[in-house]
């Protein structure tokens, strides 16, 4: 069965969500949202997928304070973050480029990242642009740090980084990414060329598993109609619904 680039990303992210209970999805996250719904559709452990912006049960979030308190209680197992810049230590910059505070390019701001990155055990970084502009040696501003000193209360942190080219895992002890798999049609060289930070590399890098027909069926039949509620434009573009 043919699949599109978004479906590969959805299936790749979903493979990182096995065995969890509660996955939360922030704003502007149709692909992580779809991945969470896919994981839930074939899981016996996932009790709830909370999608910020969804007005429908069981995906509705009972107010933003509840979401942050829930993370503080240890009741959120996975969350997704992105960044205008992400560096090799998994520091995330959502704030801007240039000298703070009068930055040349000012983005929105840290949002919940400076808190959730510490408290959610499995934070999956996701960015749809894989370039040296995004994946830099050092972020200009640390909206949320990738690692912390041992005495800082931090049950959570970066777990993986998914891009249109590949999947990295993150080793919190070493504070480094490791290339886990390369998406079909791309090469390790291409990833090196487009990544501004150094990362660990196994001797042989496997190809990312493509979604099988059963997975694609689940995505199109079960996930698409649900994600079209908070993300109508996305669902229309990808699945024509």
């Amino acid at each position: 069965m043919d699949y599109c680039a978004e479906e590969l990303l959805i299936s790749t992210i979903a493979s990182l969500l096995d065995g969890l209970r509660h996955i939360a999805v922030g704003v502007l996250s149709p692909i992580p949202g779809s991945a969470s719904l896919l994981a839930a559709s074939r899981s016996t452990t996932i009790k709830k997928v909370s999608i910020l912006g969804s007005m429908k049960e069981p995906y509705r979030v009972d107010g933003a304070i509840d979401l942050f308190d829930c993370a503080g209680q240890g009741r959120i197992d996975a969350f997704f973050l992105s960044g205008g810049q992400i560096d090799g230590q998994a520091n995330v910059n959502l704030t801007g480029i240039g000298h703070y505070p009068t930055q040349d390019t000012r983005w929105s701001g840290a949002f919940g990242s400076a808190y959730l990155y510490f408290l959610v055990p499995r934070v999956i970084l996701f960015r749809e642009e894989h370039t040296r502009r995004v994946f830099v040696p050092k972020v200009d501003f640390i909206s949320a740090p990738g690692t912390s000193a041992p005495n800082v209360h931090r049950p959570g942190g970066p777990y993986a980084l998914v891009t249109p080219l590949c999947l990295f895992s993150f080793n919190r002890t070493k504070g480094r990414f490791r290339l886990e798999s390369v998406h079909p049609g791309h090469t390790v060289e291409e990833i090196k060329d487009n990544t501004g930070f150094e990362f660990d590399l196994p001797d042989r890098v496997p190809e990312t598993l493509i979604p099988d027909s059963q997975t694609l069926q689940l995505i199109r039949d079960k996930v698409a109609p649900i994600i079209s509620d908070p993300y109508p434009d996305f669902a229309r573009k990808i699945w024509g619904i």
Binding site: I65, R106, G109, P145, S148, D233
Partner: protein, 273 residues
């Protein structure tokens, strides 16, 4: 308590230059009241976005009404960056007190409890913390070797929001936006615009009462039909996508922002219908 029910202009006139004003993120935003603030050219506002800001903070900044913004982020969401905000930051026209969402909520919760500060996990090692003079790291007094951030209480002069309805006593039905209650509790005064005034006591109503703000906290109410337009009022009306899209486009530079504002400041048909 009928005296607290007034018109939108009178509410706007209560907010003096230099006031610290709390605004909810992207719904229940009092856009009609915001337009009055822009019309009367209020200056030097210290905005507290709870916890993030969207259209109204960007419009106020573009109109020169704001000197400081305390925020976890300003964005038009799916419509893109808040360009008047980004531009004002770049030019140094406004001071930004960058925070993270739960820090804004926690600060307001300290404010509503009347306590001076509140601890919050996270933040340590971020440049958000490094740039906030008011945020401190202390040792957990109950456990050794456990650094934790403490945040000062946030106590706005005003909370302003738009809600579905109020009653003659000044009780305001909020719906699901329970955060508005915390904002009102923490603020010195709360000014509210509503779709309508109902003739029963909201607090006596079993379902509505539990999702409402007591008149104790309400200092002024005005009727503003479609008062959140072009933003949404959950359960009542949706975003006006076309207008927000046109704003997002116009706000990319000050000149086109100014002409967009000149066209839309009069309110439009939605406000008076």
């Amino acid at each position: 308590m009928n005296k607290s029910i007034t018109d939108v202009l009178s509410l706007a006139n209560q907010i003096n230059d230099g006031s610290k004003v709390a605004i909810f993120k992207d719904c229940s935003v009092p856009m009609a009241l915001g337009r009055e603030l822009i019309r009367r050219q209020v200056r030097n506002l210290h905005l507290v976005t709870v916890p993030t800001g969207s259209l109204l903070p960007d419009m106020l900044i573009g109109s020169g009404c704001v000197s400081t913004i305390e925020t976890a982020g300003v964005s038009l969401g799916e419509f893109g960056l808040a360009n008047r905000f980004s531009s004002a930051v770049k030019e140094g026209d406004i001071a930004v007190l960058d925070a993270t969402c739960p820090a804004i909520y926690a600060g307001l919760q300290a404010g509503e409890k009347g306590i001076p500060f509140i601890p919050l996990r996270g933040l340590i090692g971020s440049d958000v913390l490094a740039n906030r003079m008011g945020f401190r790291v202390i040792d957990n007094p109950f456990q050794e070797n456990d650094p934790i951030v403490v945040l000062p209480a946030i106590k706005p002069d005003y909370t302003i929001f738009h809600a579905p309805m109020a009653d003659q006593s000044g009780n305001v039905y909020l719906g699901r936006q329970a955060e508005l209650k915390i904002m009102a509790h923490a603020s010195n005064k709360t000014l509210v615009t509503v779709e309508k005034i109902v003739d029963f006591n909201i607090m006596d109503h079993e379902e509505l009462g539990s999702a409402s703000l007591s008149h104790l906290y309400v200092d002024g109410i005005a009727i503003a039909p479609n008062g959140a337009w072009p933003l949404n009022l959950p359960g009542y009306y949706e975003y006006d996508r076309e207008i927000i899209q046109s704003y997002a486009h116009a706000a990319k530079n000050q000149k086109s922002f100014n002409s967009w504002l000149a066209t839309h400041l009069s309110g439009g048909s939605k406000e008076t219908s």
